[in-house]
Point group: C2
Amino acid sequence: MCEANAYFKSNGQEVLFMESVDVIEPYEDGLKLVDIFGRQKFVRAKIKDMTLLNHRIVLEETVGFKHDTE
Amino acid sequence: MCEANAYFKSNGQEVLFMESVDVIEPYEDGLKLVDIFGRQKFVRAKIKDMTLLNHRIVLEETVGFKHDTE
């Protein structure tokens, strides 16, 4: 399937933040990510880049890293 | 494959902007979109939402609609 994994770039490393992301909704202060099971996370980050064929979303923090668990 | 089509919402209608998008790179003033053939477009828009399983990227204009053809 065509979901993607969301990673944070941290000290040159990529850290997995959320797997199997289907829906991405940007907001003023961050992003809502919803996975294929309907689980949601809100994160104060923006999209750095995405490569859909590689199922990759790379995020970068915006204002102080705070994320909701679902 | 897992590329997606990019649409603009215009007067309640969705207008196809670019097919088979693989890479998305947000910039301060817009987005660079690259398709599976390597063709690039830059557009003064931001992502409204994305549903990867439906291969859909919905864009919304930011400052005056200007897009580069590749």
